[in-house]
Symmetry: C2
Subunit: 229 residues, 2 copies
């Protein structure tokens, strides 16, 4: 999943306008000079990627666009792969946690809404990063780590569902979470079939139904009501 706080943000991290952190509030220097440089450079990467695509992405272009000296950008990020990896590392480093709505289906619907928002976001930074992951091995690995982190954070959804007795105790969290989210990614990214809000909810509901029926449970799974653990 690629959660966002709004459709105009990149995965799990705010996407301020490129000029904001430096020009609008130079006195606060949030995070210091190094953090400001990083913010400017990563904003430039995202803007360039969304506006011109991967082919027009280069260290020189990012340096020019961000106003950061080329030497600095080369030293710290080395190449396009390093820049893309850091965009995703920044998103991984946020404090996102999945919504807690009180039910498994509600939680899965909420996550899928965030995925849908990310995949239909404007600017389309998420789809641009996915496309870039097929060009840069480093970006592919960073995206892999980003998603691994997101799915791990979401495992609390399954833990809560087990505690509520909604699903069998030995339900495999990752399998359930992938089942709920994969159809959405598959339809929208690979099959290129727009999914409306109803489908977003249906995929979540289908996965919840499956989980309640004992899918995703390891062999020998027991009912949490009769099995202590």
């Amino acid at each position: 999943m690629i959660p966002t706080r709004s459709t105009s943000e990149i995965p799990g991290a705010p996407l301020p306008s490129p000029s904001h952190p430096i020009d609008a509030a130079p006195a606060r220097r949030p995070g210091g000079r190094s953090a400001q440089v990083r913010r400017r450079v990563l904003d430039a990467v995202r803007d360039q990627l969304v506006e011109q695509g991967y082919d027009a992405l280069s260290v020189d272009v990012v340096a020019d666009r961000s106003g950061v000296h080329r030497t600095t950008v080369y030293r710290r990020w080395r190449d396009v792969g390093g820049l893309l990896a850091d965009v995703l590392a920044e998103a991984t480093g946020d404090d996102w946690s999945p919504p807690d709505t009180g039910s498994l289906e509600g939680d899965l619907v909420a996550v899928n809404r965030e995925v849908h928002a990310a995949l239909t976001g404007d600017p389309p930074i998420t789809t641009a990063l996915i496309a870039a992951s097929f060009r840069s091995e480093q970006a592919g690995e960073a995206l892999r780590l980003f998603w691994a982190d997101r799915y791990a954070r979401c495992s609390v959804i399954v833990r809560r569902a087990v505690e509520r007795g909604e699903v069998p105790a030995r339900t495999d969290a990752r399998r359930l979470l992938v089942a709920a989210t994969a159809p959405l990614y598959h339809e929208m990214v690979l099959l290129r079939t727009p999914a409306g809000p109803d489908l977003v909810e249906r995929w979540a509901g289908d996965a919840a139904t499956a989980a309640r029926a004992g899918a995703f449970a390891a062999a020998g799974a027991a009912d949490p009501m009769t099995d202590p653990g």
Copy 2:
């Protein structure tokens, strides 16, 4: 799904060695001169894509590699997008149909095994085509049509399951088929997490469990045993 007859084949179409159709059996002229030219050109596209990637793909390179005159290739396929679209159109034009194993789970496992074989194929033509679909709008559209055709053909799996009384009568075929296959594509293509044979079968089994429990059924779905329609 991208079914293959073996791991060395492209989606649903045989992948002979580039020189075979012309050089090894020139007397037979299967399909005539035009079909031979197409075979040589599309073989060259696949070989070039797998060996050098999208960036090294051009009409001129394909013409040189296939031994077909550049003018012919430009006239018939126009550009790289046209070449990629025809590779996928050729795959769509085959006579593939999904396996009939006698049970919903068996059929889904068989389909997922074909998807897995395609995604781990050597040469990796399927993953190369997926990557190319993010570069060429025409290739993306052709891949969309290819998959739409494959999912439509697979709907017979769900029809048979309904007839056997395995799943509710109003089970949505596409939703069930996407649920069975999407996790495999998601794990292997986007999440870049290798899926072993056990996971390939588990995703199919999870989808079958979900379908039996009434997931993927339209609102008001009825049990086929008690509802005639």
